[in-house]
Every structure is written in C-alpha cells, then in structure tokens.
C-alpha cells in the first residue's frame, strides 16, 4: 500500500485482537513468558541496591524514573497508536512545576509535590489532547505527532528565553524531597521509593489495559475505523489515554527533578522526547514490560559505553534503533515473546464466562 496523506494508519499488528482473545483462552494452559519476565525483573530490581555500589544505585534510580516515563509513552503509542513526539512536554512541565514549588514556596513534601507534578502532567495533556485529538474531524497521525513535537519545541524555546525559569541553565539546586521530617536524598531509600511507585503504576496500567477499556484501545490501534463503526467514541478514548499518559509522565518528571536536584531545558524539549521513543521502540512497544526493558538496556549500555566511546555512542544508538525498526519492528521483546501472548487476553477470564455470557 502506498498512499499519500489520508491513508496513514498505525502499523498493522498481525492478529485481530478479538479473535486472539478466543485463541488465548484456548491455549491458556501453555507456558507463558510474560509473568516470568515480570517477576524476574522485579526480583532483580529489588535486590539490586544490596549488591550494587552506591553510585550505581543512584544511576539505577534515574533509570527507574526513566522507565516510568517510557511507560507513559508506551501507553499512547504502543496501545492507542498515537505518536506523541512531544511526551517530554509533560515530563518537563511537571519537573519545572515542582522545581518552582520548591524554589518559590519552599514546598518539598512528597505528599504535595508528587500529586502536584502528576496534576500538571494531567492538565497539560488534557488541554493538548482537547486541541489535537478532539474536534469534528479525526486528526491524522502525522498531525498529532507534529503537534506534540511542536508543543515540546515551543516549551523548550520559551523556557530557554524565560528569565523566571532560569533560561539556558534551568533551575539549579532544588531542595531534597521530604517525607514528614525525613529528607529523601539519592541512594537506596530513593531507589526503593521509585521502585514502589513504578510497580504501582505498572500494575495500574496493566489492570487498565486488560479491562474492556484496554480491549477498545487495542481495537483502535488495529483498525480505528472499525472501532468507530462499533459505536465507540474513538477520539474520546484517545484523549483519555493521552491524559493518563500525561499524568504518568508528570509523576516521572517530578521524581526526576528531585532526584537530579535541578531541572533544565532538555527535560522539556526534543532531546528527551527522542530518548523515550528510542527506549520504547527498542524494548518493544505494545507491551508494558518492553518499555521497561528497553529503557534498562539502553541506559545500561549508555552507562557502560559512554565512558569509553563517548563520541560514537549516539551513532551506535541510532544504528541499533534502525536495525530494530527494520528487522524487529516489535522490539527486542519479540525475541522471547510470541505474538499471541503479546496481544494477550482482555476482560474477565473467558474460560469461566464462555457459557454464561452471550
């Protein structure tokens, strides 16, 4: 198919979701890779600070925060087929927001800043979704990606030019986050906090995507028109998932700001948006664990390679990404994960309800 302009749709993802639901239940007895992978990664992540050196634990905390950010992009691109090339907008806005709260109002309590960051991400994403996705005519993927990219670019430019936001240098030396009277500085404590938040949001996303809402989203990704004909308000579904993903990116951004201790314009702009696209495509979009694995591998390689091969590392990264897109469009996760399991099953288990429900 070679089409111009109008016929642009997300890449076909093989099996029709509804059909595979039936198949998945028929093969439910087979060995499943996904839960094993998830549990193994969780165990590895839980014991990591005990065996790693302190400075690596600090680095690992940053990676976990970026995993959270990657999850937010995976939700919109991997599940709803919205190519948000400006995901960093929500990440960075939340980061700047909590940095300002800390600088100008002295607010550093975790129970104030995390909800604030999440809310900033949510509201920003809702507004942008309202403009880009809702309306009389459905928006093309190219338009949405261009719109989100422009949003991130504009925010970057404005922050660079704003004296209040610290211009090029950003906002330095943010006070540490506090829980009650305890100051949370980088190290194992922060690590486990982030891990807990990551696991919580991961499980919430998993629950959401395995519900009827997730089924509608998967259908939307596969064939938007068909879902629209079924009577779903496609644009509303997209706007909802976009807002949720913005909220998650906001949580990640506020954690990042407090972990690094400063915010700067790259958090808002094209640089960070690019990073998150790399993570998710590399690991495998359309599976939550793929986003996490992609982030961990890229950041891990980056940690190891950028010391010795600082100059050519970005070139290697681009080359790897190109190879993955060309030969493994579903990401590295597709090496171990079958198509059937990737699509998964939705709603209550079909085994029990097959005879009951029509």
């Amino acid at each position: 198919m070679l089409s111009t302009g109008t016929g642009i749709q997300p890449p076909p993802r093989a099996i029709d979701a509804a059909a595979s639901t039936v198949m998945a239940s028929a093969f439910a007895g087979r060995k499943r890779v996904l839960p094993i992978l998830e549990v193994a990664l969780l165990i590895a992540a839980s014991i990591a600070p005990l065996v790693l050196k302190d400075y690596i634990t600090v680095y690992a905390t940053r990676v976990l925060i970026l995993c959270l950010f990657a999850l937010s992009f995976d939700l919109v691109w991997g599940y709803a087929g919205i190519l948000s090339l400006g995901q960093s907008l929500f990440f960075g806005m939340a980061g700047y927001g909590v940095a300002l709260l800390s600088r100008d109002f002295g607010v550093g309590s975790i129970f104030a800043v995390l909800p604030a960051g999440t809310l900033i991400g949510l509201v920003a994403a809702l507004l942008l979704a309202g403009f880009l996705l809702l309306g009389r005519h459905p928006s093309s993927v190219v338009f949405v990606s261009l719109g989100t990219m422009t949003g991130a670019y504009a925010a970057d430019r404005l922050a660079r030019g704003s004296h209040y936001l610290g211009g090029q240098n950003g906002i330095p030396s943010i006070q540490p986050m506090t829980i009650g009277s305890h100051e949370l500085s980088e190290g194992p404590g922060f690590y486990y906090l982030v891990l807990a938040i990551l696991v919580l949001i991961y499980l919430l996303s998993r629950f959401l995507l395995r519900s009827q809402f997730g089924l509608a989203l998967a259908g939307l990704r596969e064939n938007e028109q068909r879902i629209a004909f079924f009577g779903y308000k496609v644009q509303h579904l997209k706007a909802i998932i976009f807002a949720i993903s913005g909220a998650i990116a906001g949580t990640a951004g506020s954690l990042y700001a407090f972990h690094e201790g400063f915010v700067w314009t790259n958090m808002l702009g094209v640089v960070m948006s690019t990073q998150v696209v790399l993570y998710v495509l590399f690991g495998g979009s359309g599976t939550l664990i793929g986003a996490v694995i992609g982030t961990a591998i890229i950041e891990g390689l980056s940690f190891w390679l950028s010391d010795n091969y600082r100059d050519i590392w970005p070139i290697i990264l681009g080359g790897l990404l190109l190879l993955v897109i060309m030969f493994r469009p579903l990401g590295l996760i597709s090496l171990v994960l079958g198509e059937r399991e990737r699509v998964g099953h939705f709603g209550p288990s079909l085994k029990e309800t097959r005879n009951a429900a029509p």
Partner: protein, 287 residues
C-alpha cells in the same frame, strides 16, 4: 521607506531559504507519502560537504556543486537499502528515517567536534542601489531558489520522467502494469528530494554556519510548512513554505524573536487543525 525595502528583502531571502529546504521534503511527502524525518540531516550533510571542500582548499562554489550530487547519491543508496522497506507503513517510515537522521546528525557532530564552523560566501560584497545595500549572497539565494523551483516544476510537469513519477503517484498498480518500474521511480524521486536538501544546505551554510543541530531547526519548520501548504501537490508545499518563511522572517521585526519563533508554529498548528487539507487542496502537478 528605506528600512521597509531592506526588511522586504530580508523577508524575501529568508522565505527563499525555507522554500528551498521544504521543496525536497514536499516532493518526497507528496509523491511518495513518506514523511522523511532525515530531510533536515540531508540539509546538514549538504552544508558539511561544502565545508569539507572548502577546508580542502578548493573553491566554495565547487563544494556547492558537489553537495547536491553527494547527498543525492546517498539518498539513492539509503532508499535502496532502508527506506524501501517502509512504504507499506508510513508511520514506521517516520521512525526509520528518524533513526537515519540521528545517525547522520551524530556522525557530523563527531566529525565537526560539536563546533560552529563557518564557510565564507563564495560571492561576497553587497549591491548598492541608491542608498540601500543588499548582501549579494542573499540575492543569489533568492535567484537560485526561483530557478530550482521552476526547474523542479518543469521536470515533474513536462518531461517523460515527470510523467512517470506522476503516474506512479496516481496509481502505482496501473503504472506498473503499463511497464513503469515504480521501484526505480521511487529511488530516483527520493534521491532528487535528497539532492534538493543537499543544495539547500550548501547555499545556506555561509548564512547560518555549520553546526550539528542545523537540520533539526529546519525539520520542524519544513514539516509545518508542508502541512500548512497541503500534501499531495507541487504547489502546496511551496505555498506553505512561502507563508511560514515570510512569517518567520517578519514577526521578529514586531515582537521578541523567541515569542515570534513559537508563535509561527502555534499559529500554523491551529491553521492545520481547522483546515487539514492545507492551503492547496489538490493533488498532482498543475501544468
């Protein structure tokens, strides 16, 4: 009156630069349905080739002739090796060309050491009309842009190659059935679009100097311009580029440059939202 004339000239020459950058992007997007995210890096590469030739001690003009050829050849090779695989999935094509762009950009960043490198204008000096001075090189850019535009249009509208390109655009199956090798046509079109970007890079490098992120700036501008103008026709991207280029050059005279830069994009996005088909809602090349 004098400042008005000078402002008009500035706006005209900047508009010409944007048109030049967007032309290749528009041709690839309109004729092949591929949004080439590496286009900005093709511009960068054209600039880099010019710099290489200049630093080898050869005349800059020679570099400017070499740039479109080198970038065109590279475009041809990349189409054969990579882009060809993506025709079935335009979104994946965006990501794939994005990866290509990343590789080129970082390679150039490594080669230039992340510095701003300047290339002198091959034709320096200024033209004086009455009490007004115009930079000659800016004038050359305007004239070359007009020539390239006319030549591209003539190539697509009046030659047999153009006919085959248009046939492949209108109906690939029928074109193949009529004995046109659409694969070769796509390679040639992509190479042509890349060569135009290379030429643009070569011409603008004396104005902007060479740095690794040169392409990104033009990439967003180029995409916005193509969308504003309308995909699918020859006139669309050119019209969009003229509008965006004019606004980008004109607004900084009124308001602060940072706000102006952002405002142009925001206005453009709002325009596209309410008129998705763009300024020119036709398809093909008008004769």
């Amino acid at each position: 009156m004098d400042t008005l004339l000078i402002a008009t000239f500035e706006i005209l020459s900047f508009g010409a630069i944007v048109v030049l950058v967007v032309l290749g992007l528009g041709i690839i997007a309109s004729m092949m349905g591929i949004f080439n995210f590496a286009q900005g890096e093709f511009v960068l590469l054209g600039a880099y080739v010019t710099y290489l030739v200049h630093s080898a001690g050869l005349p800059v003009l020679l570099g400017m002739l070499a740039a479109p050829v080198a970038v065109g050849v590279l475009g041809f090779v990349l189409e054969k090796l990579v882009v060809r695989r993506f025709y079935a999935a335009p979104i994946v094509a965006m990501l794939g060309t994005y990866a290509l762009g990343l590789i080129i950009r970082e390679a150039v960043r490594g080669l230039t050491g992340g510095l701003y490198l300047s290339v002198p204008e091959p034709i320096s000096g200024s033209i004086t009309i009455g009490s007004l001075h115009f930079a000659t090189w800016r004038g050359v850019i305007v004239i070359v842009t007009l020539l390239v535009m006319a030549a591209s249009h003539a190539l697509l509208a009046y030659t047999s190659f153009g006919l085959r390109v248009r046939a492949s655009l209108e109906n690939p199956q029928l074109a193949r059935a009529s004995g046109i090798s659409t694969g070769t046509i796509y390679s040639a079109t992509f190479a042509f679009g890349a060569a135009l970007a290379g030429l643009a890079g070569a011409l603008i490098v004396p104005v902007f100097s060479l740095f690794a992120d040169l392409g990104i700036r033009f990439l967003i501008q180029g995409f916005v311009a193509v969308m504003v103008g309308g995909i699918g026709s020859f006139a669309g991207p050119v019209a969009g580029a003229s509008v965006i280029g004019t606004f980008s050059a004109w607004l900084p005279w009124l308001i602060s440059p940072v706000i102006a830069d952002v405002l142009v994009f925001v206005l453009a996005i709002i325009f596209i939202k309410f008129r998705p088909q763009g300024l020119v809602s036709g398809r093909g090349v008008n004769r």
